[in-house]
Amino acid sequence: MTFLARVHVTLKASVFDPQGATVARALGTLGFDEVQDVRVGKYLEVRLSASDAAAARERVSAMCETLLANTVIERYEFTLAEEHH
Protein backbone atom coordinates (compact mmCIF):
# COMPACT_ATOMS: atom_id res chain seq x y z
CA MET A 1 0.00 0.00 0.00
CA THR A 2 1.10 3.55 -0.60
CA PHE A 3 0.77 6.26 2.00
CA LEU A 4 1.29 9.97 1.93
CA ALA A 5 2.67 11.43 5.12
CA ARG A 6 2.29 15.16 5.56
CA VAL A 7 4.95 16.13 8.05
CA HIS A 8 5.20 19.45 9.85
CA VAL A 9 8.46 20.35 11.53
CA THR A 10 8.44 23.49 13.64
CA LEU A 11 10.71 25.07 16.21
CA LYS A 12 9.75 24.26 19.75
CA ALA A 13 7.62 26.95 21.29
CA SER A 14 10.44 28.03 23.63
CA VAL A 15 12.90 28.51 20.78
CA PHE A 16 13.02 31.92 19.17
CA ASP A 17 12.09 31.92 15.49
CA PRO A 18 13.87 34.85 13.86
CA GLN A 19 12.41 34.10 10.46
CA GLY A 20 8.88 34.16 11.78
CA ALA A 21 9.54 37.39 13.65
CA THR A 22 10.91 39.05 10.51
CA VAL A 23 7.96 37.91 8.41
CA ALA A 24 5.54 39.14 11.07
CA ARG A 25 7.22 42.53 11.08
CA ALA A 26 7.13 42.68 7.29
CA LEU A 27 3.43 41.84 7.23
CA GLY A 28 2.88 44.61 9.75
CA THR A 29 4.59 47.21 7.58
CA LEU A 30 2.59 45.99 4.58
CA GLY A 31 -0.57 46.98 6.41
CA PHE A 32 -1.49 43.60 7.84
CA ASP A 33 -1.76 45.06 11.31
CA GLU A 34 -3.97 42.25 12.48
CA VAL A 35 -1.09 39.79 12.47
CA GLN A 36 -0.12 38.86 16.01
CA ASP A 37 2.52 36.27 15.45
CA VAL A 38 4.15 34.19 12.73
CA ARG A 39 6.13 30.98 13.05
CA VAL A 40 7.92 29.45 10.08
CA GLY A 41 8.54 25.75 9.79
CA LYS A 42 9.08 23.02 7.26
CA TYR A 43 6.46 20.99 5.50
CA LEU A 44 7.30 17.66 3.92
CA GLU A 45 5.24 15.30 1.86
CA VAL A 46 6.69 11.82 2.09
CA ARG A 47 5.25 9.12 -0.12
CA LEU A 48 6.08 5.63 1.09
CA SER A 49 5.03 2.02 0.80
CA ALA A 50 3.99 0.10 3.89
CA SER A 51 1.96 -2.96 4.64
CA ASP A 52 -0.55 -1.04 6.70
CA ALA A 53 -1.15 2.29 8.39
CA ALA A 54 0.42 1.24 11.67
CA ALA A 55 3.63 0.23 9.95
CA ALA A 56 3.68 3.44 7.95
CA ARG A 57 3.17 5.47 11.10
CA GLU A 58 6.06 3.78 12.81
CA ARG A 59 8.40 4.31 9.88
CA VAL A 60 7.51 7.98 9.46
CA SER A 61 8.09 8.52 13.17
CA ALA A 62 11.50 6.95 12.80
CA MET A 63 12.29 9.21 9.82
CA CYS A 64 11.32 12.26 11.83
CA GLU A 65 13.45 11.22 14.78
CA THR A 66 16.52 10.37 12.76
CA LEU A 67 16.55 12.87 9.93
CA LEU A 68 13.61 15.18 9.40
CA ALA A 69 13.69 16.95 12.75
CA ASN A 70 16.31 17.67 15.38
CA THR A 71 14.32 17.28 18.55
CA VAL A 72 16.80 19.42 20.46
CA ILE A 73 15.14 22.48 18.98
CA GLU A 74 12.30 21.18 16.80
CA ARG A 75 9.07 19.28 17.16
CA TYR A 76 7.24 17.38 14.48
CA GLU A 77 3.81 16.03 13.76
CA PHE A 78 2.34 14.27 10.79
CA THR A 79 -0.83 12.93 9.29
CA LEU A 80 -1.06 9.82 7.16
CA ALA A 81 -3.39 9.07 4.29
CA GLU A 82 -3.58 6.03 2.11
CA GLU A 83 -3.24 6.74 -1.57
CA HIS A 84 -5.33 5.06 -4.23
CA HIS A 85 -4.35 5.19 -7.84
Binding site: T22, V23, T29
Partner: protein
Protein backbone atom coordinates in the same frame (compact mmCIF):
# COMPACT_ATOMS: atom_id res chain seq x y z
CA UNK B 1 27.19 60.06 -14.46
CA UNK B 2 25.68 59.55 -11.04
CA UNK B 3 24.92 56.14 -9.56
CA UNK B 4 22.52 55.22 -6.79
CA UNK B 5 23.32 52.05 -4.85
CA UNK B 6 20.26 50.96 -2.91
CA UNK B 7 20.76 49.84 0.70
CA UNK B 8 18.25 47.52 2.31
CA UNK B 9 18.70 46.30 5.85
CA UNK B 10 20.87 43.27 5.18
CA UNK B 11 22.47 44.47 1.95
CA UNK B 12 26.17 43.73 2.19
CA UNK B 13 27.73 44.41 -1.19
CA UNK B 14 26.54 48.03 -1.28
CA UNK B 15 29.89 49.57 -0.42
CA UNK B 16 31.72 47.21 -2.74
CA UNK B 17 29.57 48.50 -5.57
CA UNK B 18 30.23 52.12 -4.66
CA UNK B 19 33.96 51.50 -4.51
CA UNK B 20 34.00 49.62 -7.78
CA UNK B 21 32.21 52.45 -9.58
CA UNK B 22 34.51 55.06 -8.11
CA UNK B 23 37.58 52.99 -8.91
CA UNK B 24 36.66 51.99 -12.43
CA UNK B 25 34.85 55.12 -13.60
CA UNK B 26 35.82 57.83 -11.17
CA UNK B 27 32.17 58.85 -11.23
CA UNK B 28 30.00 59.62 -8.18
CA UNK B 29 28.13 56.76 -6.54
CA UNK B 30 25.97 57.19 -3.49
CA UNK B 31 24.19 54.90 -1.09
CA UNK B 32 20.42 55.38 -1.13
CA UNK B 33 18.53 54.13 1.91
CA UNK B 34 15.58 51.80 1.39
CA UNK B 35 13.23 54.27 3.08
CA UNK B 36 14.00 56.93 0.53
CA UNK B 37 11.10 57.78 -1.71
CA UNK B 38 13.12 58.89 -4.66
CA UNK B 39 16.05 58.15 -6.92
CA UNK B 40 15.70 61.44 -8.77
CA UNK B 41 18.96 62.84 -10.01
CA UNK B 42 20.61 59.47 -10.41
CA UNK B 43 21.42 58.22 -13.87
CA UNK B 44 21.63 54.58 -12.94
CA UNK B 45 20.43 52.45 -10.05
CA UNK B 46 22.28 49.48 -8.68
CA UNK B 47 20.60 46.97 -6.41
CA UNK B 48 23.54 45.30 -4.73
CA UNK B 49 24.15 41.86 -3.32
CA UNK B 50 23.55 40.73 0.22
CA UNK B 51 20.73 39.30 2.25
CA UNK B 52 18.04 41.96 2.36
CA UNK B 53 15.90 41.22 5.42
CA UNK B 54 18.06 38.17 5.97
CA UNK B 55 16.62 36.60 2.81
CA UNK B 56 14.12 35.19 5.28
CA UNK B 57 11.11 33.58 3.63
CA UNK B 58 12.58 34.03 0.10
CA UNK B 59 15.46 36.06 -1.21
CA UNK B 60 14.15 39.48 -2.17
CA UNK B 61 10.61 38.81 -1.00
CA UNK B 62 10.47 41.46 1.70
CA UNK B 63 12.82 43.95 0.05
CA UNK B 64 10.41 44.21 -2.81
CA UNK B 65 8.08 46.28 -0.64
CA UNK B 66 10.61 48.87 0.49
CA UNK B 67 9.53 52.45 -0.25
CA UNK B 68 12.50 53.02 -2.54
CA UNK B 69 11.33 50.28 -4.87
CA UNK B 70 8.46 52.36 -6.24
CA UNK B 71 11.02 54.96 -7.22
CA UNK B 72 13.22 52.28 -8.76
CA UNK B 73 10.27 50.99 -10.74
CA UNK B 74 9.51 54.45 -12.04
CA UNK B 75 13.17 54.94 -12.91
CA UNK B 76 13.12 51.68 -14.87
CA UNK B 77 9.88 52.51 -16.60
CA UNK B 78 11.42 55.79 -17.72
CA UNK B 79 14.01 53.70 -19.55
CA UNK B 80 16.93 54.43 -17.24
CA UNK B 81 19.35 51.66 -16.36
CA UNK B 82 18.84 49.41 -13.35
CA UNK B 83 21.37 46.71 -12.52
CA UNK B 84 20.57 44.01 -9.97
CA UNK B 85 23.53 42.00 -8.76
CA UNK B 86 22.95 38.69 -6.97
CA UNK B 87 20.44 39.61 -4.26
CA UNK B 88 19.57 42.56 -6.49
CA UNK B 89 18.66 40.16 -9.30
CA UNK B 90 16.44 38.25 -6.87
CA UNK B 91 14.73 41.50 -5.86
CA UNK B 92 14.17 42.46 -9.50
CA UNK B 93 12.41 39.17 -10.21
CA UNK B 94 10.31 39.52 -7.07
CA UNK B 95 9.11 42.97 -8.20
CA UNK B 96 8.61 41.54 -11.69
CA UNK B 97 10.89 44.05 -13.38
CA UNK B 98 12.51 40.89 -14.70
CA UNK B 99 10.70 37.65 -15.56
CA UNK B 100 11.22 34.31 -13.84
CA UNK B 101 12.52 33.52 -10.40
CA UNK B 102 15.66 32.37 -8.63
CA UNK B 103 15.42 29.03 -6.91
CA UNK B 104 17.69 27.38 -4.39
CA UNK B 105 20.86 26.06 -5.98
CA UNK B 106 20.22 22.50 -7.11
CA UNK B 107 22.91 21.16 -4.75
CA UNK B 108 21.31 23.14 -1.91
CA UNK B 109 24.59 24.66 -0.80
CA UNK B 110 25.85 28.19 -0.88
CA UNK B 111 28.43 28.42 -3.64
CA UNK B 112 31.31 30.87 -3.81
CA UNK B 113 33.79 30.57 -6.63
CA UNK B 114 35.17 32.40 -9.60
CA UNK B 115 33.29 31.03 -12.60
CA UNK B 116 33.53 31.29 -16.34
CA UNK B 117 30.76 33.07 -18.24
CA UNK B 118 30.03 33.79 -21.85
CA UNK B 119 28.75 37.20 -22.89
CA UNK B 120 25.71 36.28 -24.98
CA UNK B 121 24.73 39.72 -26.09
CA UNK B 122 26.49 43.04 -26.31
CA UNK B 123 23.29 44.73 -27.32
CA UNK B 124 22.68 46.16 -23.85
CA UNK B 125 23.94 49.28 -22.10
CA UNK B 126 25.60 46.95 -19.59
CA UNK B 127 27.65 44.82 -21.95
CA UNK B 128 28.49 46.89 -25.00
CA UNK B 129 32.15 47.05 -24.01
CA UNK B 130 32.53 43.27 -24.11
CA UNK B 131 33.03 41.26 -27.27
CA UNK B 132 30.14 39.12 -28.42
CA UNK B 133 30.80 35.59 -27.17
CA UNK B 134 33.67 36.72 -24.98
CA UNK B 135 34.48 34.42 -22.09
CA UNK B 136 35.01 36.20 -18.81
CA UNK B 137 35.64 35.19 -15.20
CA UNK B 138 33.51 36.60 -12.40
CA UNK B 139 32.93 35.65 -8.76
CA UNK B 140 29.66 34.12 -7.68
CA UNK B 141 28.40 33.84 -4.10
CA UNK B 142 24.83 32.74 -3.59
CA UNK B 143 22.51 30.06 -2.27
CA UNK B 144 19.51 30.87 -4.48
CA UNK B 145 20.84 31.46 -7.95
CA UNK B 146 19.13 28.82 -10.01
CA UNK B 147 17.29 30.79 -12.65
CA UNK B 148 13.86 29.44 -13.47
CA UNK B 149 11.19 30.51 -15.90
CA UNK B 150 8.40 28.63 -17.60
CA UNK B 151 8.89 27.46 -21.16
CA UNK B 152 7.05 30.35 -22.75
CA UNK B 153 9.06 32.90 -20.84
CA UNK B 154 12.29 31.15 -21.66
CA UNK B 155 11.37 31.05 -25.32
CA UNK B 156 10.63 34.72 -25.14
CA UNK B 157 13.98 35.52 -23.54
CA UNK B 158 15.79 33.66 -26.29
CA UNK B 159 13.80 35.22 -29.09
CA UNK B 160 14.41 38.71 -27.87
CA UNK B 161 18.08 38.29 -27.15
CA UNK B 162 17.53 38.83 -23.44
CA UNK B 163 19.94 36.21 -22.12
CA UNK B 164 23.04 38.24 -21.33
CA UNK B 165 25.36 35.78 -19.56
CA UNK B 166 25.57 32.01 -19.51
CA UNK B 167 27.77 29.82 -17.36
CA UNK B 168 30.44 28.02 -19.34
CA UNK B 169 31.53 24.59 -18.19
CA UNK B 170 30.07 23.55 -14.89
CA UNK B 171 26.73 25.14 -14.09
CA UNK B 172 27.15 26.17 -10.44
CA UNK B 173 23.49 26.23 -9.44
CA UNK B 174 21.36 24.29 -11.91
CA UNK B 175 19.92 27.35 -13.64
CA UNK B 176 17.83 26.74 -16.72
CA UNK B 177 19.72 26.98 -19.96
CA UNK B 178 22.87 27.90 -17.94
CA UNK B 179 21.49 31.38 -17.48
CA UNK B 180 23.56 33.68 -15.27
CA UNK B 181 22.06 37.02 -16.24
CA UNK B 182 19.14 38.45 -18.22
CA UNK B 183 17.89 41.81 -19.39
CA UNK B 184 14.32 43.01 -19.78
CA UNK B 185 12.67 43.52 -23.13
CA UNK B 186 13.42 47.27 -23.06
CA UNK B 187 17.06 46.35 -22.33
CA UNK B 188 17.48 48.81 -19.48
CA UNK B 189 17.02 46.45 -16.52
CA UNK B 190 19.59 43.71 -16.04
CA UNK B 191 19.89 41.10 -13.34
CA UNK B 192 22.87 38.82 -12.87
CA UNK B 193 23.97 36.37 -10.21
CA UNK B 194 27.75 36.95 -10.61
CA UNK B 195 29.44 39.90 -8.93
CA UNK B 196 31.14 42.30 -11.33
CA UNK B 197 31.91 44.71 -8.48
CA UNK B 198 34.22 42.09 -6.98
CA UNK B 199 36.22 41.76 -10.16
CA UNK B 200 37.64 45.20 -10.85
CA UNK B 201 41.22 44.76 -9.74
CA UNK B 202 43.80 42.17 -10.80
CA UNK B 203 44.57 41.50 -7.14
CA UNK B 204 40.99 40.30 -6.67
CA UNK B 205 41.55 37.47 -9.11
CA UNK B 206 39.82 39.09 -12.09
CA UNK B 207 39.10 42.51 -13.49
CA UNK B 208 36.55 41.27 -16.00
CA UNK B 209 33.71 42.99 -14.17
CA UNK B 210 34.95 46.48 -14.99
CA UNK B 211 33.46 46.46 -18.51
CA UNK B 212 29.93 46.42 -17.09
CA UNK B 213 30.56 49.76 -15.48
CA UNK B 214 32.42 51.23 -18.44
CA UNK B 215 29.61 50.06 -20.74
CA UNK B 216 27.09 51.90 -18.59
CA UNK B 217 29.17 55.07 -18.66
CA UNK B 218 29.63 54.91 -22.42
CA UNK B 219 25.94 54.31 -23.01
CA UNK B 220 25.08 57.23 -20.78
CA UNK B 221 27.54 59.54 -22.53
CA UNK B 222 26.16 58.55 -25.91
CA UNK B 223 22.65 59.31 -24.75
CA UNK B 224 23.63 62.60 -23.19
CA UNK B 225 25.75 63.86 -26.06
CA UNK B 226 23.51 62.49 -28.79
Amino acid sequence: MKFAVIVFPGSNCDEDAVRAIQQVLDEPAELVWHQSGSVDGYDAVIIPGGFAYGDYLRAGAIARFAPVMSAVRAHAQAGRPVLGICNGFQVLTEVALLPGALLANNHLQFRCDIVKLRVETTRTPFTADYQMGQEIRLPIAHAQGSYYADDATLQDLREHDQIVFRYVGENPNGSLDNIAGIVNRQRNVMGMMPHPERAVHPRLGSSDGAAIFTSLLHAWKEAVYA
